[in-house]
């Protein structure tokens, strides 16, 4: 690693000029306006973990209620709100944003750029995410949190059966959040395609970027299905339009179709980036390049693509035509093939490498074990007759948690231990890390494995309690104990993250001896990421010495722009500086959605106009006739 870093040393005059061009925010108010992808990425991750804590508390209360039969800790209505908010929080406010946060932090560093393609849009999407989360959570303050499950089926969510504002918080909150998700995805796609370092052709792209790209493309096409469904729902609830009411030509199945056309790609959206993290962690700690790099990239794209063709398997119990069920069952089984490609490539990398069992690697291994279990229960439920037995039972709860908590969450923890030194310049404590891993691993499996059993014994999900019955009682008590152990394991990492900022060993640019470009930058990186923009001529450039210093691009705030496939240099992109208008636009948009909730349509109009004006203002060039930027 030393080699590559040394010959990228730059003249002090350049460094000085860059520092002047990329100043740190000087006041708290300026801190709000920052467009730095590193600060915003960190903010995304921290905010997502705050929501994770809230979702975790909701889960803890539910597990207390379920620890023994016929407990009275929670009323049925309170339980409905808790399991709905647990699902909404984890699916929409934690996993996707935390993975996006990593993507926004890491993408420019991995592609050797100074910023994302649209830094101010990044600021806007962060604030919209934050405010949408707060919007949804204010429902608790008036005791009217969403209560129809995270997939919110009609007619349960129609005004006929759910007349309070509960569902409006859900529908408007998610419409609002969708703007952030879509904007973030477009930002990521354009950055990955257009801002890669000269020479980083697509076949040299790190695998995390493949997963991030696939995820973002899926978002662009999946979110509109949710937005359409939510718009229909709100028009029906607020204005008396008809979409789902079968008395007037509607059909409740329309909601299910639209929701799952979005919902199943979403499952891969919140899963694939975690596999991308593993594909970065495993080669580093196996001390060799990834086996089957190209196949993993292809498998990722195929998973994202096929993910759009399996949604009906969520609806096997609806009484659909036999032919369509067979088709979607087969498609759902097919999707295990690309997943298996990834797993075998990881195993082969370890087999041919020299494995170092550091904490990130332990979490990666935990991911593999648990994801295989979750994958197998997934293939089981892809078989229609089995699904009829298991649907809406705790078996499905076990499946989703094995994939998303055992899989994605362990991947995210691997990512935290792996990239924390880059983000904060200090190592996390290994002893605490390993302790945290083992407590989480044991707690997770003790907590969630018994749910397979209680599910097969017929325990339905989303019911606030259960009658005393042999097998189910014990399984639930064990689940509760496991869940609390799991929470303790998470808290150990939280403590580690807080403590190591002051006491951790100083990391240096490349503490793990890894091969990708983010390890070329300082830890933590300078505001401008790289003093001279790297030019790449191979995969894992730091391992193969395939990186050389390019121009400094220090005439202004610049980053090179390259062609989408071959990464041939085209021009320099001028990057905007810190700005308050994106924050302002996010706030006025919150007012607009709040006005829809309270039905003050005049205020909605005003706030929407203000948002449009604010966005126009942030894109308005301040000087006239911007000169052509010389490369």
């Amino acid at each position: 690693m030393g080699l590559a870093t040394e010959h990228l040393e730059t003249a002090p005059a350049t460094t000085e000029r860059l520092t002047r061009l990329w100043p740190p925010p000087r006041s708290i108010l300026a801190w709000l306006a920052t467009v730095d992808h590193k600060k915003l990425g960190t903010r995304y991750i921290v905010t997502a973990f705050v929501f994770f804590a809230l979702g975790g508390v909701e889960a803890a209360v539910m597990r207390a209620q379920l620890a023994r039969p016929e407990a009275q800790l929670l009323s049925p209505e309170a339980y409905n709100q808790l399991f709905t908010m647990h699902g909404v929080t984890m699916m929409f406010l934690f996993v996707q944003p935390v993975l996006s946060g990593f993507s926004f932090y890491l993408t420019p560093l991995m592609i050797g750029a100074r910023e994302l393609a649209f830094p101010r849009l990044n600021s806007f999407s962060y604030y919209v995410f934050l405010l949408a989360g707060i919007f949804i959570y204010t429902s608790f303050l008036i005791g009217a949190a969403p209560n129809a499950g995270w997939f919110n089926y009609t007619p349960l969510s129609s005004s006929l059966y759910n007349s309070g504002p509960n569902i409006d918080f859900y529908a408007l909150g998610l419409l609002f959040l969708g703007i952030s998700t879509t904007a973030g995805a477009i930002n990521a796609i354009v950055s990955i395609l257009k801002l890669r370092a000269p020479g980083m052709s697509v076949d040299r792209m790190p695998l995390f970027l493949w997963s991030s790209l696939t995820m973002s493309v899926s978002v662009v096409f999946a979110i509109p299905a949710l937005s359409a469904a939510l718009l229909f729902l709100e028009l029906e609830r607020h204005w008396g339009f008809v979409f789902f009411d079968s008395r007037f030509g509607g059909n409740p199945m329309l909601w299910q179709q639209l929701f799952w056309v979005f919902g199943h790609p979403w499952v891969y959206i919140v899963f694939l980036p975690a596999t991308g993290m593993l594909s970065m962690v495993i080669p580093t700690f196996s001390r060799r390049p990834m086996v089957g790099h190209t196949f993993i990239a292809l498998a990722t794209v195929v998973t994202g693509f096929v993910g759009f063709g399996v949604w009906l398997h969520h609806m096997f119990a609806d009484g659909l035509p036999q032919l369509s069920m067979s088709f979607f069952g087969a498609a759902s089984i097919t999707i295990s093939i690309p997943s298996a490609v990834q797993i075998f490539a990881w195993l082969a990398t370890m087999y041919y490498g020299r494995v170092i069992f550091a904490t990130p690697m332990l979490f990666a291994l935990g991911f593999i074990v648990q994801f295989v279990i979750g994958g197998i229960s997934g293939v089981m439920t892809a078989a229609v007759p089995f699904d009829w037995q298991a649907t809406d039972t705790y078996f499905v709860v076990a499946h989703i948690h094995y994939v998303l908590a055992g899989g994605t969450l362990f991947g995210v923890f691997a990512g935290i231990y792996y990239w924390y030194p880059k983000m904060f310049g200090r190592m996390l404590d290994e002893r605490l890390g390993k302790l945290s891993f083992w407590v989480m691993f044991v707690g997770f499996n003790v907590g969630f494995f018994p749910m397979h059993v209680s599910g097969l014994l017929g325990m339905p999900r989303r019911v606030y309690t259960y009658a005393p019955s042999p097998g189910v009682d014990a399984a639930n008590l064990i689940s509760t104990i496991g869940a609390y152990v799991f929470a303790i394991g998470v808290l150990v990492t939280l403590w580690n993250v807080v403590r190591s900022r002051a006491t951790g060993a100083v990391a240096g640019p490349n503490p793990w001896g890894a091969g990708t470009l983010e390890w070329l930058a300082q830890s933590p990186p300078e505001n401008y990421n790289f003093a001279s923009m790297p030019v790449v001529s191979g995969r894992d450039p730091l391992w193969t010495n395939a990186v050389s210093p390019g121009p400094a691009y220090d005439a202004d705030r610049l980053t090179p722009r390259t062609s989408a496939l071959d990464a041939d240099i085209e021009a320099a992109v001028e990057l905007p500086d810190d700005n308050y208008w994106p924050v302002a636009a996010a706030v006025t948009l919150l007012v607009a959605f709040g006005a829809l909730l309270t039905r003050w349509y005049w205020l909605f109009g005003l706030a929407l106009a203000a948002t449009l004006l604010g966005s126009a203002r942030w894109m308005w060039p301040l000087q006239t006739e911007v000169a052509e930027t010389e490369v």
Partner: protein, 203 residues
């Protein structure tokens, strides 16, 4: 060695293509996402259509074609005007571009005015809350109308930037991006015309 040096050697003069710009890619992705939105809307329309015995339901007349066809003519010609205006701008005739852009916007406003007329007439016989068919009809055309309105704002924004000298002379990306959106909204209308207005005539 690198492309940077090649360029200063003047082997070939650099050619600017809007599709190289990040802004162009972002707008193309916005259009794809919006296209998906309308695809899901229309999927809903045909899904409920298949689930109902008659679509439009019995007692509801098929949408009339006179006004929508004039609307179509306005929108299509607005796109052609914009393309011609842009070509003139490339030849340095910015005054013609501004006039053409203004004409495009007038045609767009005409489209919205006709849509309002169509709604006023239609609402007398069919309210949006009567039946799923009516709800979908007003939602799909209404959301498209909102897109036309947004496209108008985008054209206005571009015109203001052009008029105040805030368009890069070598790389007029903002001009390209706003017209990309305008043509996209135009194309969506053609799909809506076929789906909502023409397809009921097939039965």
């Amino acid at each position: 060695m690198t492309a940077v040096e090649l360029r200063s050697d003047h082997l070939l003069p650099p050619v600017w293509k809007p599709s190289q710009e990040v802004g162009w890619w972002a707008m193309a992705l916005v259009c794809m996402s919006e296209a998906a939105l309308f695809a899901y809307f229309l999927a809903g329309y045909f899904y409920l259509g298949a689930a109902n015995p008659a679509w439009p339901p019995a007692g509801t007349e098929k949408p009339k074609l006179e006004i929508p066809l004039i609307m179509t003519a306005l929108l299509v010609s607005s796109s052609i005007v914009l393309i011609v205006a842009e070509k003139q701008r490339e030849h340095g005739k910015r005054a013609i571009y501004r006039a053409g852009s203004a004409l495009t916007m007038l045609l767009g406003i005409g489209f919205l005015a006709l849509q309002a007329t169509e709604y006023r007439e239609k609402l007398r016989s069919m309210g949006p809350t009567e039946h799923a068919y009516a709800s979908l009809f007003y939602t799909i055309t209404g959301v498209h109308g909102a897109h036309v309105a947004f496209g108008l704002l985008l054209l206005l924004y571009t015109l203001l930037r052009d008029a105040t000298g805030r368009v890069d002379p070598e790389r007029p990306i903002v001009v390209k991006v706003s017209s990309l959106y305008w043509h996209f909204v135009d194309a969506v209308w053609l799909v809506i015309l076929v789906s909502l207005y023409l397809s009921p005539r097939l039965t």
